[in-house]
């Protein structure tokens, strides 16, 4: 690719910036997978995004955040009771596990599994520990996903034609 005119040069600059951002996004996403925050299910979600459904991933993830926050609040309240209803706690953790696995939040899902074991054993201390851990993991994955989306937005802003680019990107 050889820039021949000034217009071409400006295009090239844009392209370079965009390319850099793209690379950053790719690296970041790769690192998330590598560190186990996300698993293949996230890829599946990305595949489902197409022209008819351009913001699918963002929508799902946003719903996940809302759902999880509600669940975590309820869990905290349930575990602070005098007499803990373990069945209810178990059901809620199960819900959380289900939604986390649907979007591919691998680490959160794993903690949920261990959390459920404690519920079965009716181990109060263990449940509390795991509650803290699950909150921690959730916060982490939330911030990571938010960073991911921000990068995305930046690329969107940097490019002249946002639509196809994001799509192409998330389909990578």
């Amino acid at each position: 690719m050889r820039p021949v005119s000034e217009k071409g040069a400006k295009e090239k600059a844009t392209m370079d910036a965009v390319a850099q951002l793209q690379r950053q996004l790719v690296d970041y996403t790769a690192s998330l997978f590598h560190e186990g925050y996300l698993d293949d299910q996230f890829n599946q979600l990305r595949q489902l995004q197409d022209e008819s459904n351009p913001d699918f991933v963002v929508e799902v993830v946003t719903l996940y955040f809302e759902d999880s926050e509600r669940l975590l609040n309820e869990l905290t309240k349930a575990l602070q009771q005098q007499s803990i209803d373990f069945k209810k706690v178990d059901a809620q953790v199960h819900q959380f596990k289900g939604s986390s696995s649907s979007i591919g939040a691998q680490r959160v899902q794993k903690v949920c599994i261990a959390f459920r074991n404690c519920c079965e054993e009716q181990n109060i201390e263990g449940c509390n520990i795991f509650l803290q851990q699950v909150k921690h993991e959730y916060t982490l994955v939330k911030s990571k996903l938010e960073t991911l989306f921000k990068l995305d937005q930046q690329i969107l802003a940097a490019r002249v034609d946002p639509g196809s680019h994001v799509i192409r990107f998330l389909q990578a």
Binding site: R2, D40, Q41, Q44, L45, Q47, L48, D50, S52, N53, F56, E59, V60, L63, Y64, D67, A91, H94, Q95, K97, G98, S99, S101, S102, I103, G104
Partner: protein
């Protein structure tokens, strides 16, 4: 004279004589009276006396005689007439009785005499019986000895013990002076004294085997009396003064392992015999009795059997030892071979990886380099690098493939593939290269060749590419024609493979491919070498074209693995060459064939596949999962309705919905019950939607419950796009999920 009644004696009384007569008469009378008393006494004592009447008679006779003599006593002096009358009476009576007795005795005495004879006879008989008893006892003893001997002989499997025991026992039983055993020597021409009874270590006397006496003994299986002077019998110096005892010799067959046929008795014709010589004590009048000879023969037979057993045992022990040694050696060799193979495989694996990695790096980076800005010289250099490294990569792959092919570890990866497509692809690959060289390539596929086949697509393509590539490589001008058709038996013309037959079968067909070029050709003498690895024909034309010489070797092995044959025909240098190969491919069944187009159609356009407008109901209470599943199904083109509770599901479900996906772990009414209710609601099968459970656990219990509730399938969460596609296609095609997960 006065008349008196006295009777005067006849003679005058001579005093002394008279006195003596008087006394004698007296004693006679006494004796006569006592004899019957004695008789009665003794007869009374004895129990058997058949002649009582005789006794009575005899008693009467004696008594009367006594009476007579007693009365006679009175007649010595003057006696009255009464006395004379009594005397006369007595005498008369006595006369009568005596005559009667005399007459009686005529009958009785022969009887008495015969009794005596019988007694004598019986005594003789008894003596004879005694003698015979003695004999029988001796025989029984001998029999016992034989049994004991046999037992002794057969109780051991040691040859020496057997023979020694035999000799000892025989010597004892038959009270022999000497007993000797002569064994044939290794050469078989002589008999050597092996064992004797009395001498501890016999000096090695040998006797030639061809002596007439020995032949005589060997010919019969009975014990034969031989002369004590023959060489086999002259073992010890003569002990006795007069004559040596009788000698008997018997043959002992030495049976060999080879003599025993499986179903026959051993042949006695080609045999080695040993000789057993038995000597009775000298100076005794003993003769060899028949029973003793029989004993000897029996013993000889037993010894033969025992010896053969011992021989067999020795043989088998030796064989077993040999086998054990061989086993150990083989085991060692096997372990060494295994170690060698393992070492080679490790080496190959390492080299495989080590070699390919840098190769790939080189190839990849060179191609990347080509995409950057380069000066023409640089471009040429990089292209050369790329070409060389490609060649090297191919070579490495070939070598590794070949070594795997060689030790048989390469297995074909069978699969169903499009046969026509393989040819087309090869054709498309080769056309540009051929057109550069201005070669015309034509492809002819017979119409009766099946479109789909079962086999190793990759290797078939590799073979085809290799063969066609060779054709292109070695042609400078002209045309190349590729023909493919179904092989029939007549089409096999190679005389170099006379043992290659087409085996017709229902599931397979033979693919016949012919690649004809008008290029350099091959010298007919070099044709066999073409398929040997690393051998290059050294003609000018080929040297420049490169090639490691491995290609055809690998092709041949692939073709052989596919149950086929490959060969090359050429009329000579410059006359072009035809490469032909036949491989066996499997036929696809009809069902697979009809499925294939569906699969390819589906994989081609996944969004607008058969699922367009498919009405689907999703029952899931987790919001996020519900959204994800909905997005998934919408991506596939379905018309999705979502519900979050079982009640809502039962309300909403209708005939239009073709599939219902329900999450298994829902609270409230369990999904099993929902399934049952749906079954109740829609009684007819074509109205009812297909029910599929989504679950995060794969245990058997869940599966069983789902099946029992009447669900048509179970799918494991999380569901990927491909999995959902397969699930939907399976459901729509078969009406039930064939594979649950």
């Amino acid at each position: 004279m006065e008349s008196c009644n006295c009777i005067e004696p006849q003679w005058p009384a001579d005093e002394l004589l008279m006195k003596y007569q008087y006394i004698s008469d007296f004693f006679i009378a006494v004796a006569y009276f006592s004899i019957p008393l004695e008789l009665i006494y003794f007869v009374k004592k004895s129990s058997v006396f058949p002649y009582r009447w005789v006794l009575v008679q005899f008693g009467a006779f004696i008594v009367l005689c006594g009476a007579t003599h007693f009365i006679n006593l009175w007649t010595f002096y003057m006696h009255t007439r009464t006395v004379a009358v009594v005397m006369t009476l007595a005498k008369v009576l006595t006369a009568v009785v005596s005559c009667a007795t005399a007459l009686m005795l005529v009958h009785i005495i022969p009887d008495l005499l015969s009794v005596k004879t019988r007694e004598l006879f019986l005594k003789n008989k008894a003596a004879e019986l005694d003698r015979e008893m003695g004999l029988i006892r001796t025989q029984e003893e001998t029999g016992r000895h034989v049994r004991m001997l046999t037992h002794e002989i057969r109780s051991t499997l040691d040859r020496h013990t057997i023979l020694k025991t035999t000799l000892i026992e025989l010597g004892r039983t038959l009270a022999l002076e000497e007993c000797a055993l002569w064994m044939p020597t290794r050469t078989g021409l002589e008999l050597q004294l092996a064992y004797t009874l009395r001498q501890q270590n016999p000096v090695g006397y040998t006797v030639p085997i061809q002596l007439p006496v020995i032949n005589q003994v060997f010919r019969s299986n009975h014990a034969v009396k031989i002369s004590p002077n023959c060489p086999v019998a002259r073992i010890r110096p003569l002990a006795g003064k007069y004559m040596p005892g009788d000698v008997v010799a018997v043959r002992v067959p030495l049976l060999h392992l080879s003599n025993f046929q499986i179903n026959d008795w051993p042949e006695l014709s080609t045999k080695r015999y040993a000789l057993m010589v038995l000597m009775l004590p000298s100076d005794s009048a003993r003769q060899w009795h028949v029973h003793e000879l029989e004993l000897v023969e029996v013993v000889a037979d037993q010894v033969a059997v025992a010896l053969s057993h011992a021989a067999i045992l020795e043989e088998s022990m030796r064989a077993r030892d040999l086998l054990m040694d061989q086993n150990v050696a083989l085991d060692l060799a096997r372990r060494e071979a295994e170690t060698a193979i393992r070492a080679r495989n490790d080496f190959l694996a390492v080299m495989n990886h080590e070699m390919r990695t840098p190769m790939h790096a080189i190839v990849a980076l060179s191609s990347l380099l080509l995409e950057t800005e380069l000066t023409p010289e640089q471009r040429l250099m990089v292209e050369t690098i790329l070409k060389s490294s490609n060649l090297l990569a191919t070579l490495i792959n070939d070598v590794l493939d070949l070594s795997r092919l060689e030790d048989g570890s390469l297995q074909l990866e069978l699969g169903t593939f499009n046969l026509h497509a393989v040819f087309k692809e090869v054709f498309n690959l080769i056309k540009p290269i051929a057109s550069v060289k201005k070669l015309l390539v034509t492809l002819n596929i017979a119409p009766d060749l099946p479109e789909y086949a079962v086999g190793d697509e990759k290797r078939l393509m590799q073979t085809l590419l290799n063969v066609v590539g060779n054709a292109v490589k070695f042609s400078k001008e002209g045309s190349i024609s590729i023909t493919a058709f179904l092989a029939k038996s007549e089409s096999l013309r190679d005389s170099r493979a006379p043992d290659f037959f087409l085996v017709p079968s229902d599931n397979h067909f033979y693919l016949h491919v012919q690649v004809k070029d008008s290029g350099l050709g091959v010298n007919p003498q070099d044709i066999p070498k073409l398929f040997t690895k690393f051998a290059q024909t050294q003609s000018l034309g080929t040297r420049n074209s490169g090639g490691s010489g491995l290609g055809l070797a690998i092709c041949k092995r692939f073709v052989n693995l596919m149950g086929g044959h490959i060969w090359i025909e050429s009329e000579g240098l410059g006359k072009g060459c035809t490469a032909i190969f036949i491989v066996k491919l499997g036929m696809t069944g009809h069902s697979i064939k009809s499925n294939l187009p569906l699969v390819s159609k589906m994989s081609a356009n996944h969004v607008h596949a058969n699922f367009t407008g498919l009405k689907v109901l999703v029952m899931e209470d987790n919001g996020v999962s519900r959204m994800v599943t909905k997005g998934l199904l919408m991506h596939l083109g379905c018309d999705v309705t979502t519900v979050s509770s079982s009640d809502e599901c039962l309300r909403v479900v209708s005939q239009d919905h073709k599939v219902v996906f329900m999450d298994v772990c829902m609270p409230g009414i369990s999904c099993y019950e929902v399934a049952v209710r749906i079954h109740e609601k829609f009684t007819r099968r074509h109205e009812r939607p297909l029910i599929v459970a989504l679950t995060s656990t794969t245990d058997k219990i869940t599966k069983d419950n789902c099946m029992r509730a009447g669900m048509d399938g179970v799918v494991l969460k999380p569901v990927s796009l491909d999995k959902m596609r397969c699930v939907l296609s399976d459901l729509l095609e078969h009406g039930v999920l064939l594979e649950a997960i």
